[in-house]
């Protein structure tokens, strides 16, 4: 499969080809609906952003993949004029991540989209910078590094207490003594808090403690960064109207 970027006859060039995008361009795009309509595949972008904001990513991707009449696993589209291939085929994923790893990469548009958040970190780089990152990080994943379970145990205990209490202390109706029995708990929210606490403890030496307060500054900020990145990852160079116009209340 050739994943090279196609040169679409699209009036809007992607960011990599045209890194200087005037703010005026964005403004005119967001204020003039008919321009949006002329952008090929803008409906895909709108659909993707809308679904990620409504927690319906899986449904949207499954809907796209249904267009593959043969296997239902690989489709091609041009969201905002950029040729993209979406695949859930394990063989393709194996090729991209393992057997033909060196033929694929993140690409400069990805690096730019994620630059404010990930900088030149391992997940946003290719070639030599990627290799350097890997050299640096690899020793940290040897067995005796990942076998330190105490850190995780400590936070699992806090997690269990939150589940027993029926949520985070301070939330309306949450018990403080493990008597939240029978109460419905959004456990996925607690899981995100747990992994943030365990990860900051493991990585930085101290947990941010998001399982212990309703609103924890770092957790809220991290959630907001991810909300914005989520949109940028889907809308790329047409993100601007979305990022600044939507409600920023995140799960945390």
């Amino acid at each position: 499969m050739d994943l090279r970027r196609a040169q679409d006859p699209c009036p809007w060039q992607p960011r990599s080809e045209d890194p200087i995008i005037s703010p005026l361009w964005y403004v005119s795009l967001s204020l003039t609906p008919h321009i949006l309509l002329t952008l090929p595949g803008i409906d895909m972008v709108i659909g993707a952003v809308r679904s990620t904001m409504n927690h319906k990513n899986l449904e949207t991707w499954q809907g796209w993949l249904k267009n593959d009449r043969n296997f239902g696993q690989t489709v091609e589209g041009t969201p905002a004029g950029l040729r993209c291939i979406f695949t859930a085929d394990p063989e393709n994923i194996k090729a991209i991540l393992a057997t033909q790893f060196h033929d694929y990469g993140k690409g400069e548009p990805f690096h730019e989209d994620w630059n404010d958040f990930l900088g030149d970190g391992i997940f946003a780089s290719d070639n030599q910078p990627w290799h350097d990152s890997r050299q640096l990080l690899r020793p940290q994943f040897i067995k005796d590094r990942v076998s330190d379970l105490e850190v995780f145990e400590e936070h699992v205990q806090i997690l269990m207490r939150a589940v027993a209490n029926g949520g985070i202390e301070g939330a309306p109706g949450v018990a403080t003594d493990g008597v939240g029995r029978g109460r419905e708990v959004d456990v996925s929210n607690l899981f995100f808090r747990y992994t943030l606490d365990a990860a900051t403890h493991f990585l930085l030496g101290r947990s941010v403690g998001s399982l212990e307060v309703l609103k924890q500054d770092f957790a809220v900020a991290f959630g907001e960064v991810q909300r914005v990145q989520n949109i940028i990852a889907r809308a790329g160079y047409v993100s601007f109207p979305y990022v600044y116009t939507t409600d920023s209340s995140s799960g945390l």
Binding site: R4, I93, L118, I122, R145, A198, L203, L204, G205, A233
Partner: protein
Amino acid sequence: VNPYIEQALRLSPEELETKTKSESGYTFLHALAGYTRDRKVLRDQLVSMLLAGRDTTASTLSFTFYELARHPEVFQKLRAEIIDTVGLNRPPTYNDLKNMKYLQVRSPPNFTDFHVSQIRPPLK
């Protein structure tokens, strides 16, 4: 993240080494600071690891418990294995985790339905 990095960089290389070698005081940041003192490198890699370690694990936990709730027979079998191997009175060790075969094989199938990895746009 930056205050943590500044704190770690205030330590001398010797202090970092003893911190890294001690069993309980290990942190990723201190270990990395032993290799590089470049603040941007440390910040970028740590934020990347934080993102990678956080969402993937949280959503895997969610999907795992969702699936377990839908398959009580699997849940029972898993629980029995954990009680057999670890019991109810102590936390599991690394070897316990390695030895629980049912726990190990239960993990992968979920991933085909619910993978969370990022899209990789073309390199060339």
